[in-house]
Symmetry: C2
Subunit: 382 residues, 2 copies
């Protein structure tokens, strides 16, 4: 099957290289911007790909929502299979694209959009064929894991950890989507869509690591705890999807604590399989390319679907999950949360809350910040 | 697709139950021993399954080599897809069965035979379509992991840990295959066959945990090390397969140390994907059944092959890998190994060797034992 590429950046160059050695796949034309068409295999017009009958599949690795959405739509409408690594695109337009793929009897797969090289969505989609998925989640952002690990193991402060991540190419010049948890949130949205045939698109919460200080980390470390940024998704007892991202404090025996540097960990809990944990590189040229090419191999084997056609967008219900939270806040704000064990640290309070709904904690933190309080919070893991 | 079962023990009952809720699959007849046919869906003659045109696939979960081999051969010859959880069968007859499956244009898949509920072989087979597999391995025996974890975290001695594992149903009345590393060796043989299209069948080495004492574990623990029984496979620089099982001492940051109780961890290193680690339940009714049923879902999606037809049996070359070993032996035998750092502990020596070939260490231990020495050894992990 000849595979055309949309984009020839970090991931695209990797996919193009891997196609050469992959069983049953071959390199097709590559869409680039005008002026970058310095080789005969590069084209600058999407029509050259969409109208090329020799192209069987299109790998979209350009990123962004437009023109990726228009291009992918055109490729599916023309009867080409599509794989993508673009989480923003699938989070925004996945249901329509899945429907278009079904109508045209072609595949729409996006493993690389969640967990990079970790074969998470592929296995999750396969598990849904025969098992009930009780929950999904994990460390889905490598940049913040790199930073948390540097703060934990090397005692770095937040600013230095961020600079280090940027120097190594793990963090963008504008790291907001990573450090705010938004990137991980988009990924857990996709995992929920695969697991539950519902795309949570409202009522979501993401708390990142921007408020974390070296003093906080030292405090956790002294208690044998490690901070990780975890995405969580699942179904409430009433069948409503929940999906959120927040820091979690874990004991040393947790598998998440063994996830170092910029690695990712994805997990699902199957009613029959039990906990299944997958660890690997969440980003980078070759790992991400390997996920894109694995999806192409799956198309050759016959897989067509990852998200159901017309998968509905739903409002998440994050009040359905309760957690005990660790909170660090200015002592004068202590009445704004149901605190149980509190410890003074100068003007600060380090406290643990009564069990409280996830949505209530995230909303309380927003209120505290509006009132001028600097707050860090993390769920207490098991 | 109607699925017949061969065997109705722990795993069979699980598979039968899961078929009821699995997409595209339905419960077929179940082969049991005469006298156990107490329900209308149970049959006692293999012909009732092989000659039933409504049966599309057969799940072999009876274990043992005969009559499983004859029955599976008959099913494949009759044009039925076959999935199996039987590692002894696949290690002994996989190449012939894969060939028979290819001839009859049906599938022969065996994910559940290596790693139980962990979707290892499925992902490994998929990865080989587009990536070069540099190595395979992991914790592939849950019984010994349970025992090692009990010795490490609860300070149990070997005998009590084994009794505890037997009480919980993790270890057989005769635990030899588990504690000697033979069970894990069979599994890594299968992983090598999937990864390298060669089934290592000679020249293999398995060192188990039978020589491990509570004093050894206390010694490792004081140095921040954890002992795990790891299977390893790969290709030497000359393209020859290596495959062996041995205890390994790991620092606390290793993912293997987060594998507690009877969980399994399987890993492969892809040239492009990098390290991919999968963790889950390695045994038990529902996890193992979930792997069997996942393979059936893969057949529906179009997958046919896990081991290549006619995969050759080869002699492993375990001299191609070198390791530094930790060795505990009677002090009077110290000249029999290239020891570097040695420490007296009464009449015992606790020492670290120079780097030495895996085969040389296993053979030296055999010689030491012939000479009457009680020896424990473990590779030093990274």
């Amino acid at each position: 099957m000849k595979v055309a590429l949309l984009g020839f950046g970090t991931v695209g160059v990797g996919v193009y290289g891997m196609l050469d050695g992959a069983y049953g796949l071959e390199q097709g034309p590559v869409l680039v911007r005008p002026g970058k068409d310095d080789s005969s295999f590069k084209v600058t017009e999407i029509e050259k790909i969409v109208n090329d009958p020799s192209v069987g599949a299109v790998a979209e690795v350009m990123g962004g929502i437009e023109p990726a959405f228009s291009y992918v739509s055109a490729a599916l409408a023309a009867g080409k299979h599509v794989v993508t690594s673009n989480k923003a695109l699938v989070a925004a337009h996945g249901p329509e694209l899945a429907e278009l793929a079904e109508k045209n009897n072609v595949a729409f797969l996006f493993s690389a959009a969640c967990g990079g090289g970790v074969p998470f969505l592929h296995n999750l989609a396969l598990a849904t064929e025969s098992d009930k998925i009780l929950s999904v989640g994990g460390i889905l952002n490598g940049t913040t894991n790199y930073m948390l690990d540097a703060m934990q193991r090397r005692g770095m402060d937040y600013g230095d950890a961020l600079k280090d991540a940027q120097r190594l190419g793990y963090a963008e010049a504008d790291p907001t989507a990573d450090v705010s948890g938004l990137d991980a949130l988009r990924k857990i949205m996709l995992a929920c869509a695969v697991a539950y045939d519902q795309l949570p698109a409202e009522g979501l919460h993401n708390e990142g690591i921007e408020s974390l200080t070296a003093a906080d980390v030292a405090h956790f470390k002294a208690r044998g705890l490690t901070c990780r940024l975890l995405a969580s998704g699942g179904l409430s007892d009433e069948g409503r999807v929940y999906a959120f991202v927040e820091p979690v404090l874990l004991p040393a025996s947790a598998a998440e604590c063994a996830v170092l540097d910029n690695f990712n960990l994805a997990r699902y809990q199957g009613e029959n399989s039990g906990a299944i944990i997958l660890i690997g590189q969440g980003a980078g040229r070759w790992p991400t390319a390997s996920a894109v090419v694995r999806d192409l191999s799956c198309i050759l084997q016959g897989q067509r679907t990852m998200m159901q056609a017309g998968c509905p967008r739903v409002k998440a219900d994050n009040s359905a999950c309760s957690r005990v939270y660790y909170v660090r806040l200015p002592a004068r704000f202590e009445d704004m949360l149901p605190l149980k064990e509190a410890e003074k640290d100068g003007d600060l309070l380090r406290a643990v809350t009564e069990p409280m709904p996830v949505s209530a904690m995230h909303e309380a933190a927003a209120k505290l910040r509006q009132a001028g309080a600097e707050v860090f919070f993390a769920a207490m893991g098991e």
